[in-house]
Structure formats: structure tokens, C-alpha cells
Amino acid sequence: MKGANLGEFEELVLLTIASLASDAYSVAICDELEKYTGRTAKLGVVHSVLNRLEEKGLAKSRLGEATSARGGKRKRFYEVSHTGKVALMKAKEVRENIWRNIPGFNLEGSI
């Protein structure tokens, strides 16, 4: 196991879950991701990532109420677990640390 380390796409999905708050279910996550990144997020890919996040304990899920939409099938809502929050914070920290050590002109010059 890679442990609690986050992959790039995993991080994005987890962040999206957090941003969607109480409305985070697979289709909505896909739509949000598309909005943020501009690239199409395939349901199958997102679904498997959600499953993996839950397996790693980074996200929790519960089934919602049944509605007449979706052929009467319930949605599975996701939220970020405590470990997930820690992992997100840690990832952010790592990045910021690195950013901090980059002299500004160097990077701009390279672009």
C-alpha cells in the first residue's frame, strides 16, 4: 500500500468533495471537476478513485434519501474524513514549503 499518500487526481477529487460540502456525490463531483480543471472527468475514473479514497479511509460515504430521479436509486454522498483532512493539509503544507523556497525571479525567468 502506498499508505495515506495522495495521488494528484485523488487530491483533486478529495478537494472537490470538501468544496461541495453536503452535496458531494459522484455525478456532482464529476461536474465540479470539469468546471475546475477544464478537462472531462470520466465517471468510471472518478468512481474508482472515490472507492479507493474510501478504502484508504480518507473519505466517508453514506446513502442519501431515495428520490424519483435517477430511476429511484439513492445517491451515495461523500465527505472528507478526519484522516482525509489531515492528508489534504499535509499535502498543502508540503507544496507551500517548496514554494517558499523557490526564489520568485528564478521561476518567472524560466517561464
Binding site: G44, H47, K75
Partner: protein, 877 residues
């Protein structure tokens, strides 16, 4: 918008998703797919949305979504198998009658299945001992005569093809040419055996014969054994016959004036070989004296066989074009016919359907599949019994199932239990059916002279494996419906109140199964009776001449007059005649007859002046042969009415046709007599033009008319008379009537087989019916008793119980009889121009018999039930 509410994703895809997806993920996943589907319907239309849905369902087939195989549940089956055994055994022993019905039915039906399996296995293992079986091919020939539209397919071909094929197709590894048909009296120049002669047949074969085919030599060198002219390779059996125990290698065998040297001894030919021989003669012997050009011509395609081997993994399809080119080129030199050759794999020869001039047995796959179909029908019929009885008696087992379910058995466990039970019963039945198969096998091999030659029906490991597979498949087929029924049972309902169980819910299905069983039985029995009647009609048909008490003796090179003189000593012998061939047995012999400028092939027999009166042929006009000319000086000919009709001689007036001149084989002949039409060929063909010529050359057959009541005794005296004339050859004499029966032996074979199947089908169906009647009367015993107490009469009760079953019988009769009639009238009998009409008695006779039998079965049980003392039955409640 309307479209959106109506559109639904494809159901099968959803079902597929339900099947593979883990239950935990399923609902959410399905919901997501539905949401996307609705979206796509709005954006892209229904069709596209459905397609995307299907693709998505397939895309979601990932390791994490797939349901885990429930090893635990599978494992439980293994743990429980002991328990299944125990409960199966208990239920078998408890219901002895029903177990017996099931086991007998399955055993009887499966024995037929075993027989068919060994037959099919035999057919497929033909020539298996040939090491190059997969890459050996035979050259077959197709020929069309000029002015004749139908093409003739031959297994034989010309020697020339064998000589040229390797040149034009260099990929060929080896070619061998063989030519059966050598006949002669072998004289062994050995002092020990003396001057005795042995009649024997042999096959000419060239030197690569032993290379292409795996017929190992015990003695001699296979590489050179058939190289030199006048070399002879004997099989063990022939060598034993000619030389006894002494070593035959290097010894000479004389046929007439030619001596052959034995160069090898081969193992006896295996039974399952399409090629058989008693001795091989080197093909070079044919050309040894002088080269016979006609033998090597392209059109000489009647008696030679060419086999080739290719290296492994060769695609032979591309070589056909080369052969076609050769055929076209050679056909330019032919005037009378065209000849085309093609390759046939050795492994397809036995199942390749009949070809003219074929060697070895040949079957059309259709015959084989029909046999398989018949076996399957019989086995299914027995399975129906099992299904019917098990479902009907579900009441008895429902508590057991209920308790199992409450303790925690899954549906799949109950399903497994009942499937296992039926498989156990089928395997038990297999033991009995194997014993039955042993009896059947002997009967089958003895059915007909040929059957025993073609099949060995030996038990091999492969066969046993198939037998067990058949039993398992039968068990599964039989147990499927009951198992499904039991597994669907609601445990709570069963435990609370058994009477709640809808016992007669599947009555419809049961009735349908009974009707199917009886319809099949009736079809078979009506088919048997019609077939038997037709067969009887064929062998007693009025052929247009008399065949009673005539013995045909094959002369085998002896002078007819000499044999006749010896036989004439026997008092029972009345009359003799001699002929070239025996008519009405299916074989034909024809030559061209020319009248004016018109010429056509006319069937012919050459006879002496006693033949026509002896067979009581009717002359419409003219007289019998009067001149007794020598060979080449014949001038008289007798024809039948069809000849007059075909050539329109004298406006078909027999009297006026006399004296007309026709030409046969370049000889001018005068019509001296006109015969009433008679059957020259077999009854499968219409009457065709036939001529009789005077027999100026030595006869092939001696026809002896006898007047004895003691037919076997006369035959024995003829045999001893023959011995005084010919010491070398066995007597070959047969009654004409018996020969006619042999001609139609295949039909009697078919009738016997169908009759046997009919017998089995009726037995099995009756067993099942009996079981159902016993069950119904048992369950209705209380009802009957109450009715009786209330004043119902016995006959009324019997009628009440029988009615349901009788209706089923009548329905099957109404389905079966018209079907059979149409099948025979429109399909089978159209092939026989001289068939008997289908009579009502043979249609109804069989059904009445079956109905009577069924009625007895039903009646015996219902009478028993109706006569019960109601007080006794009701008291025990």
C-alpha cells in the same frame, strides 16, 4: 420532454450490471448511470444514450466492482454433499415406487444414449490408427457424361491423376495408387499343401502404399515390398491360410500361369479401417507384360484410388485451383465426358456421405444426427417423468426444504441439493443402463450382416468418460425444474401450513409434458406400423414375374450345363435356366440401343431360352428365343413395353413391333418378342426400358426352380452336388425371395430401429403416466371418500379420475396422427413411386393400442381408489 419520461436504458445491460456488481456498490452505481442516461437522452437522443449506457456498464466491469465469488457458499456444497447423499438415499428408499419408475425410465433411455455414443465414437475413430490421418487426402472425382445433366460423384479416380499429381503440386509428400478387384485361385507350389487352390481377392498397390498408410509389416521390408512386378504382400490371416506356420517370404504363389513372389507379411487390417485387404499385389504387375494404355488414360476413373499425404500444417485449399487446371487441360482430349478431381481429407471419408464406387462404410452426417436426436428424445422423455413426479410430490419434501431454509440454506444450496440428488439418481441409473447397453450392443451388432462389420462398439476410456458425462447431463436436465421449484419455495409459508402450498400450481406444465411424451410415442408407433407395412409391400410386390421357389446359384466360372447336370439328380429340382444377372435386386447393367437414329442407354440381361418361361414373364406378342447362336452371331432380341414407348416403335403396338430392327453394340437385331413391363431395378425407381438378349457366353448364374416342401433339405443336396463339380469355391446359392428381402434390408433395419425406439418411448411414457395416476389418486383419496359417503357412484368416480388423463391422450392423438400422416405422405413416400397407400388401420391401430394400455394403467389405479372403504380413509384423519 415526453421522450425523456419514456426512455429507458436497455434492460439486459441493467441485468448484466446486477449480475456482476457488488451489492454494496450497485445502487449508487446504477443511479449514476441512470442520471447520465437521462442527461444523454436530453442532449444526444435516446439511441445514443442507450449505446453510451451499455458501454458504461461494460466499462464499469473492473476488479473492484465485480462481485467476489462466494467461496464459502461453494464450500458449503462440499460439506453438505454427505447430507445430500443421505437425504437422497432416504427419499429413494421411502418412495420405492417412484424411485423405481425414475431409475428404470432413466436407465432404459440412457442405454440408448450409450449405444448412440459408442456408434458415433466408432464413426469418428475410423482410421485413427493411421499415423498420418490428419494429413492424408483422397482424390475424388466428379464426372458428367455428355448429354446427361446429372453429375456422378466418385470416390475412385484415374491412375493418371496419381502419376501427375506430385508434379503439379510439389508440396505433396507421398502419393499412392491402389486398385482393388484382383480375383484369382491361388496355387501354392508347396509340396506340403499339395496342389490345393485357394480363391482369394487382392488389391494392387504401388510401392508408397505402405509409406502413406500405417499397415506395419511383420516380415519383409516396407520400403521395397511392393516395388518389383509380381510382388505379393499377404496379411497374417491370408499367409496362415496359404502357408500354414511356415515362413512365406520368398515363396511363390501362382494365379493361373503367373507366379507372384511373397515379399512381405502385414498385420491384419484393424476393424475400424475404411481400407481393407487380404493381400496386396505390386501395381507394377499390371504393366509388367505390356503397357496397357487404356489403364493409364484420364477417363479410366472407375476402379483406381489415389491417396496423397501433405507435410504437417499444409493449407490444401489453394491446391484445388491447380487440380482444376489439370482437369480442364486433360478434358480437352475427352469426347464422351468431363472429369474433375478434388481432394477429400481422410478423416471425412466415413462421414462424407455416400459416393459411387466407395470403399468402406459411408454415412451422411444427417443419419448420425438423426440417431442422436432419437436418443435425446427418449432421454428427455425419461427426464420429463422425473420432473413431473418430483414436482408433483413436492408436498412430501417441502418440510425438509423449509427447515433447511430456516436453518440458513441459501436458494443456491437448495438448488444444489436437488440437482445433486438427480445427478446421483442418474449415475445410479447409469449402472443399470450399462448392463442394458451390453444387451443392446449384441442385438445391434446382430441386426444385420453389415452392422457387425462396420461397428465394433468396444468400450474405451473415452467412451466411459462420455457415458458418465451423459449421465451427469441427464441428471442435470431431469433435476433442473424440480430444483428450481424447491429453491423458490417460501420457507415460512411451508412451515406454517403445508396445505397452503400451491400443489397443483404447475399442473399446466405437467400436462404439457405428458402430452409431449405421448405425442412422440404415438408418432413413433404409427411410423413403425406404416414403415413395416411399406416394407412388407416392397418385398411382396408383384414384380411382373414369379420368384417363388427359385434358387440362384453363382457359377463362379463353372460351366452351367455341368452344374445343372449334377443338380438335376436331386428329385425336387424341376427346371433350370441360365442368366448373366439377377434382376430386381437393385443392380443394373446397360448398353446403348439404337433405333433408326435414336440411341439411348437401355438396361439389359442376357438369358438362355429357358429363362423367360421359368420366371413366368408374360409375352404380349411374339415368341421366346428360338435360334441358339454362337457369340457374335445373335440376331434375336426381346424388349419390354417401355422400349416401344421410349423409341415409339410401331406406335407402341406390340404385335406390329415384331420384326423391327434395332442395333445393340453394333449388332443388328430383330425384335422377336415384347414383354409386359416388369421391375428390372429396385422399386425405388420407375420401370425403365429393358431388353433381353440371348446368352451366348458363359453364364454367371444358374436359376434353379424347385418344387420341394423341404427347402433346407434341397439346399443341402444342392451343396453336396456342387462339391462334386467345384472343390475350390464355396457354393453361393440363395433363394430369389431372400435376395429380394436382402435388397430392402436397410428398410427393415430402419423399421426395426424405429420400432424399438417406439417401444421404449411408450414404456417410458406409460411409466410416467402410471406414476402420475398413482400420485393423483393418493392425494385425492380423501376427496373420493367424501364423495362416496355423499353418494357418488363408483363409475362416476372412475370417470372423474380418468377424465383428465383421457383428455390428454386424445389431445396427443390429434397432434400425432396428422403429423405422422403428413410426414410420410408428403416427405418419405414421395421417394417411392410404387408405395402402398397409408391405411387408416395402421394409423389408428397403434394409437388405439397405446390408448388401451394407458387406459388399463389409469383404470387399475382409479378402480382401486374408488373401491376404497371411505370409512377407513376418513377415520384415520
Amino acid at each position: 420532454m415526453k421522450q425523456k419520461t419514456e426512455a429507458k436504458p436497455p434492460r439486459w445491460a441493467t441485468r448484466f450490471l446486477h449480475w456482476y456488481c457488488r451489492p454494496r456498490l450497485l445502487e449508487d452505481l446504477e443511479g449514476d448511470l441512470n442520471e447520465y442516461f437521462d442527461r444523454n437522452v436530453a442532449r444526444k437522443g435516446v439511441k445514443k444514450a442507450r449505446l453510451i449506457y451499455v458501454l458504461d456498464v461494460i466499462k464499469f466491469l473492473r476488479p473492484y466492482t465485480i462481485r467476489k465469488i462466494d467461496f464459502f457458499h461453494l464450500f458449503i456444497h462440499w460439506i453438505m454433499i454427505g447430507s445430500y447423499f443421505k437425504t437422497s438415499r432416504r427419499s429413494l428408499v421411502r418412495n420405492k415406487l417412484f424411485s423405481l419408475i425414475n431409475i428404470i425410465g432413466l436407465a432404459v433411455s440412457m442405454s440408448v444414449g450409450l449405444l448412440v455414443i459408442s456408434i458415433v465414437n466408432d464413426l469418428y475413430s475410423y482410421d485413427d490408427f493411421q499415423e498420418k490421418k490428419d494429413r492424408t487426402y483422397r482424390v475424388n472425382t466428379k464426372t458428367v457424361e455428355k448429354g446427361n445433366s446429372s453429375e456422378l460423384k466418385l470416390a475412385s479416380t484415374s491412375i493418371q491423376v496419381g502419376e501427375k499429381i506430385k508434379e503439379i503440386i510439389p508440396a505433396i509428400e507421398d502419393v499412392t495408387i491402389l486398385r482393388p478387384g484382383f480375383w484369382g485361385d491361388a496355387k501354392v507350389g508347396d509340396a506340403k499343401v499339395g496342389d490345393a487352390k485357394f480363391p482369394m481377392a487382392a488389391t494392387w498397390a504401388d510401392n508408397s502404399f505402405l509409406k502413406v498408410f500405417s499397415f506395419p509389416l511383420i516380415k519383409g521390408d516396407a520400403a521395397t515390398a511392393l516395388k518389383e512386378p509380381y510382388s505379393l504382400v499377404l496379411t497374417e490371416k491370408t499367409a496362415e491360410k496359404l502357408f500354414g506356420a511356415s515362413d512365406p517370404i520368398g515363396k511363390t504363389v501362382q494365379f493361373d500361369t503367373t507366379s507372384y513372389i511373397v515379399t512381405g507379411v502385414a498385420q491384419d487390417v484393424a476393424k475400424l479401417s475404411h481400407l481393407t485387404f487380404g493381400a496386396l499385389i505390386s501395381l507394377a504387375s499390371l504393366d509388367a507384360g505390356h503397357k496397357n494404355a487404356d489403364l493409364h488414360s484420364w477417363a479410366n476413373i472407375w476402379q483406381n484410388y489415389v491417396y496423397v499425404t501433405f507435410p504437417e500444417k499444409t493449407d490444401i485449399s489453394k491446391h484445388q485451383a491447380v487440380l482444376d487446371r489439370l482437369s480442364k487441360q486433360e478434358n480437352k482430349n475427352l469426347t464422351a465426358r468431363t472429369v474433375f478431381v478434388s481432394l477429400q481429407p481422410l478423416k471425412d471419408i466415413v462421414l462424407g456421405g455416400p459416393l459411387s464406387n466407395n470403399i468402406g462404410p459411408a454415412f451422411t452426417p444427417a443419419v448420425m444426427w438423426t440417431l442422436c436426436g432419437l436418443a435425446i428424445v427418449i432421454i428427455l422423455s425419461a427426464c420429463f417423468n422425473y420432473t413431473n413426479l418430483s414436482v408433483a410430490r413436492s408436498l412430501r419434501r417441502s418440510r425438509e426444504v423449509g427447515i433447511r431454509k430456516i436453518i440458513g440454506a441459501h436458494r443456491s444450496h437448495v438448488l444444489g441439493q436437488f440437482m445433486a440428488e438427480s445427478v446421483i439418481i442418474a449415475l445410479l441409473a447409469l449402472v443399470f443402463s450399462f448392463a442394458l447397453f451390453w444387451v443392446l450392443r449384441e442385438q445391434f451388432l446382430g441386426l444385420d450382416n453389415h452392422v457387425g462389420d462396420i461397428f465394433s462398439l468396444d468400450i474405451s476410456f473415452r467412451n466411459i468418460l462420455y457415458f458418465i458425462l451423459l449421465a451427469i447431463a441427464t441428471g442435470l436436465a431431469a433435476g433442473f425444474m424440480p430444483a428450481l421449484f424447491f429453491s423458490k419455495m417460501n420457507a415460512l409459508q411451508v412451515m406454517k401450513d403445508v396445505s397452503n402450498l400451491k400443489l397443483f400450481r404447475r399442473v399446466g406444465m405437467r400436462k404439457v409434458l405428458i402430452v409431449i411424451q405421448f405425442t412422440l410415442s404415438l408418432i413413433f408407433i404409427a411410423g413403425t406400423l406404416i414403415g413395416y407395412n411399406q416394407y412388407k409391400g416392397l418385398i411382396t410386390f408383384d414384380l411382373g414375374f414369379k420368384t417363388e421357389n427359385i434358387i440362384n446359384i453363382k457359377l463362379k466360372g463353372n460351366k452351367g450345363a455341368v452344374v445343372a447336370k449334377e443338380i438335376a439328380q436331386i428329385p425336387a429340382v424341376q427346371d433350370f435356366s441360365q442368366s448373366m444377372m439377377i434382376t430386381s435386386l437393385g443392380s443394373t447393367h446397360g448398353t446403348n440401343l439404337t433405333y433408326g437414329t435414336d440411341s439411348t442407354l437401355v438396361w439389359m440381361n442376357m438369358v438362355d431360352e429357358y429363362y423367360l418361361p421359368l420366371h413366368q414373364h408374360k409375352l404380349l406378342a411374339g415368341h421366346n428365343f428360338r435360334l441358339k447362336p454362337e457369340k457374335g452371331k445373335e440376331s434375336e432380341i426381346i424388349v419390354n413395353q417401355q422400349v416401344l414407348k421410349r423409341f415409339n416403335i410401331a406406335k407402341q403396338n406390340p404385335e406390329k413391333a415384331l420384326g423391327e430392327i434395332v442395333s445393340v453394340a453394333g449388332q443388328k437385331m430383330t425384335i422377336v418378342g415384347v414383354l409386359k413391363d416388369f421391375h428390372y431395378g429396385s422399386l425405388e425407381n420407375k420401370i425403365e426400358p429393358v431388353m433381353f438378349r440371348y446368352l451366348a457366353e458363359p453364364a454367371t448364374y444358374l436359376n434353379v426352380k424347385i418344387a420341394s416342401k423341404d427347402l433346407p433339405g434341397t439346399m443341402a443336396s444342392i451343396k453336396s452336388a456342387w462339391k462334386t463339380v467345384d472343390k475350390v469355391h464355396e457354393l453361393e446359392a440363395k433363394f430369389y425371395d431372400e435376395q429380394i428381402e436382402e435388397t430392402y434390408a436397410q428398410f427393415s433395419l430402419i423399421v426395426k430401429i424405429i420400432g424399438f425406439i417406439a417401444f421404449l418411448a411408450i414404456c417410458i411414457a406409460s411409466l410416467g403416466l402410471f406414476g402420475m395416476v398413482v400420485f393423483t389418486t393418493e392425494t385425492k383419496l380423501k376427496e373420493i371418500s367424501i364423495r362416496k359417503v355423499l353418494g357418488a357412484s363408483e363409475t362416476g368416480l372412475i370417470y372423474l379420475l380418468c377424465r383428465g388423463f383421457l383428455v390428454l391422450m386424445v389431445i396427443s392423438t390429434f397432434i400425432a396422427l396428422p403429423l405422422t400422416y403428413l410426414f410420410f405422405d408428403k416427405v418419405v413416400l414421395t421417394k417411392f413411386p410404387y408405395h402402398q397407400p397409408i391405411s387408416l388401420t395402421e394409423m389408428l391401430g397403434g394409437s388405439l393400442l397405446v390408448m388401451l394400455f394407458a387406459f388399463l394403467l389409469i383404470g387399475s389405479q382409479t378402480v382401486k381408489a374408488a373401491r376404497n372403504n371411505p370409512a377407513k380413509v376418513l377415520k384415520s384423519e
